[in-house]
């Protein structure tokens, strides 16, 4: 059996070379000369090197980012705050609110400032809009919140002139900050959403501890609202990732090594996009599929509408509640079914049986979901198993080097192969949610084709990695080395799998 699979695999391998070269040519039409050179050398040299592969063509996942410490990111923010504060002639605290509102698009703010600066300020909720400026001086000396009469100088107000007593402002800010609010503390008046700048809030907060908390929340909100910054999602990790252009790309924290998608801060998920992966994970997590199961595996009695699950093979059903006899297939009265029962599939055409077609649809939907989910899960499990293989390989390399059987460099290819395998399979796993939500059509056909190609090459690679792993057990036994051609074969396979992966990502990821 395994021998068969092997020969099959290598057959398809040869075919793939053909297809592969075609695709590469397509790529070249895109116009990168380097590609051609690389591909040419690839076809000459069977001994294509891992190093060479690294330099190969263009990487659809390439993404520039920098990891900033707390201080560095503070500096980035402060620079922008100062620019805006100077240009708009507002305090830094107010400038921060404006920046948050416009997601720190500094040039956009400066442009808008030139055209209409008062509109800019009211849009950012730091100045009352001219429409609601009706409130002037405080009409009474009663605080509208605690309903107490206070001295005029104990009343405080934002530029909207909604005055309340200092004690109430203090309480208001304390409650909201304790609740985790940073930016977004607003005026207490009803229907007034004027934002409170930090230099208004800070003196109102009792105690250093709460002030510190507030500063932390502010920093979090500044980073989160900044279109080029993202906090590392790693536990208690203070690193901020900075990019030029925000995209759904893979970034890795330099401190805690957390890998995530820059846009949604979730597990990296190419080729699926952020919204789709969220939908997929929720779908997998919640029990909406239970409902789907019920609708797929049960039907309602056509007479009394009680829900019935079929527990036997016979299609002649008798409702246990109303004793109605009917046919499970067409839900028609059993009386009309004589010996011609098997013909009742023709009733499907009958518009009366909407019910039945709904069942069929639900069943079809469940089947489709399970199809994709099974593959998604399966690759997830494979990833875990291959992680074990990787561990084993690592240990063996260690052992080998200790026993003077080659050096670290000699065994690197095996280490690289196992790592590449994990990378490819990870992408493959995330192609399934993508395919699940894809509408059928030529594009889905192309996607499924490339997915199948990738899958075939990954299984091939996985097989070869495991084989190399077991060969080495032989080596320990004292029998020669893994032959050079086997090593070449493995490296070849690595290259093919990675090319497949890149082609798929290039064509389908975030275009």
């Amino acid at each position: 059996m395994s021998v068969d699979m092997n020969s099959q695999a290598s057959d398809s391998n040869e075919e793939d070379f053909g297809v592969n070269s075609e695709e590469e040519e397509d790529e070249d039409d895109g116009g990168e000369e380097e590609d051609q050179v690389d591909i040419a050398s690839y076809y000459e040299g069977v001994a294509s090197d891992v190093e060479q592969q690294g330099a190969d063509s263009f990487d659809p996942e390439e993404y520039l980012f920098t990891c900033l410490t707390y201080k560095e990111s503070q500096r980035v923010l402060t620079d922008e705050v100062n620019t805006v504060a100077a240009a708009l002639k507002v305090s830094p605290a107010v400038a921060k609110l404006i920046l948050v509102h416009f997601h720190w698009h500094v040039s956009q703010i400066l442009d808008r400032c030139k055209s209409n600066s008062s509109l800019l300020l009211s849009d950012a909720l730091v100045q009352p809009s001219s429409a609601c400026r009706s409130v002037t001086a405080p009409q009474s000396l009663q605080c509208g919140v605690c309903l107490q009469i206070v001295r005029r100088d104990a009343l405080l107000a934002l530029p909207c002139q909604h005055s309340f007593c200092k004690a109430c402002w203090e309480q208001h800010c304390t409650v909201l900050v304790k609740d985790g609010m940073g930016v977004g503390v607003s005026c207490m008046a009803q229907d007034c959403s004027l934002q409170m700048p930090e230099d208004f809030v800070l003196p109102l907060l009792p105690g250093e501890e709460l002030k510190d908390k507030y500063r932390r929340y502010l920093f979090r909100d500044y980073v989160e609202s900044h279109f080029q910054l993202q906090l590392c999602p790693g536990a208690d990790c203070p690193i901020v990732i900075k990019v030029q252009e925000p995209r759904a790309r893979r970034v890795q924290c330099s401190r805690c090594s957390e890998v995530f998608c820059f846009k949604c801060r979730q597990m990296y998920h190419a080729p699926t996009d952020c919204a789709t992966i969220r939908k997929w994970l929720t779908k997998c997590a919640d029990d909406s599929e239970t409902a789907n199961y019920i609708s797929a595996h049960t039907k309602d009695c056509p007479k009394c509408n009680i829900c019935i699950e079929k527990n036997g093979g016979c299609n002649h059903m008798q409702c246990s509640k109303c004793k109605h006899d009917f046919c499970w297939m067409c839900l028609g009265d059993w009386k009309t079914h004589g010996s011609e029962y098997y013909e009742c599939s023709r009733y499907k055409e009958n518009p009366d049986i909407v019910n039945q077609s709904q069942q069929a649809q639900a069943r079809e939907a469940l089947k489709k979901y399970l199809f994709y989910f099974e593959r998604w899960e399966n690759h997830n499990k494979s990833l875990q198993l291959e992680a074990q293989t990787y561990q084993r390989i690592q240990e063996k390399i260690q052992e080998r080097v200790m026993n003077n059987l080659g050096t670290w460099i000699d065994w690197q290819y095996l280490h690289n192969a196992a790592k590449l395998l994990a990378k490819c399979r990870y992408t493959l796993q995330y192609t399934y949610p993508y395919a699940y939500y894809m509408e059928s059509g030529p594009r889905k056909k192309l996607f499924e084709y490339q997915q199948a190609q990738l899958e075939a090459e990954i299984e091939n690679l996985s097989w070869k990695v495991e084989r190399a792993d077991s060969y080495e057990r032989g080596v320990v036994g004292g029998e020669g080395e893994l032959s050079a051609s086997d090593r070449g074969d493995l490296e070849n396979q690595m290259h093919i799998a990675e090319q497949r992966r890149r082609t798929l990502l290039k064509d389908f990821h975030d275009t």
Binding site: L147, H172, T174
Partner: protein, 151 residues
């Protein structure tokens, strides 16, 4: 904790002295922060003729945090769920410390006059309200007669 904030005392007094038409709110004998509320179903609404019992609780942070309000009487309304919880913006993100018990209850009364199926809490009810309003109103009237008219 410290005694009852002056604001609560004042509000309670005012509710008693100048009651809102169609609304009665009385503080619990044992807890001045807990109110027994009765709202009369507004005229020209499917809830007309019914009297709806609610409970209202002022949390420790009140008025910085919104009061908690819940229907005790069963009601067929797209913005009230099976447990009587109410979907009303001023009870959540639109809360302002300048609002009062009186304004909250008035808003709930208004919600009875104008159900808002586009911002639902009870999905099935909202669905019905959107698809077949006359049928939904019929059900609401039936529920009012059944649950909100006991003496």
């Amino acid at each position: 904790m410290s005694g009852l904030p002056r604001r609560i005392t004042k509000e309670t007094q005012r509710l008693f002295q100048e009651p809102v038409p169609g609304i009665r709110a009385t503080p619990d004998e044992a807890n001045a922060r807990y109110f027994h509320v009765v709202i009369a179903g507004p005229a020209d609404s499917p809830f007309e003729g019914g009297t709806f019992k609610l409970e209202l609780f002022l949390p420790e942070e009140y008025p910085m945090a919104a009061p908690k309000v819940r229907f005790m009487t069963k009601i067929y309304h797209p913005n009230v769920d099976k447990l009587g919880r109410i979907c009303l913006d001023i009870l959540k993100d639109k809360w302002s410390p300048a609002l009062q018990i009186r304004t909250v209850l008035l808003s709930i009364q208004a919600l009875l006059s104008a159900p808002n199926p586009d911002d639902p809490l009870a999905n099935d009810v909202a669905e019905q309200w959107k698809n077949d309003e006359s049928e939904a109103i019929k059900t609401a009237k039936k529920w009012t007669a059944r649950y909100a008219k006991e003496k």
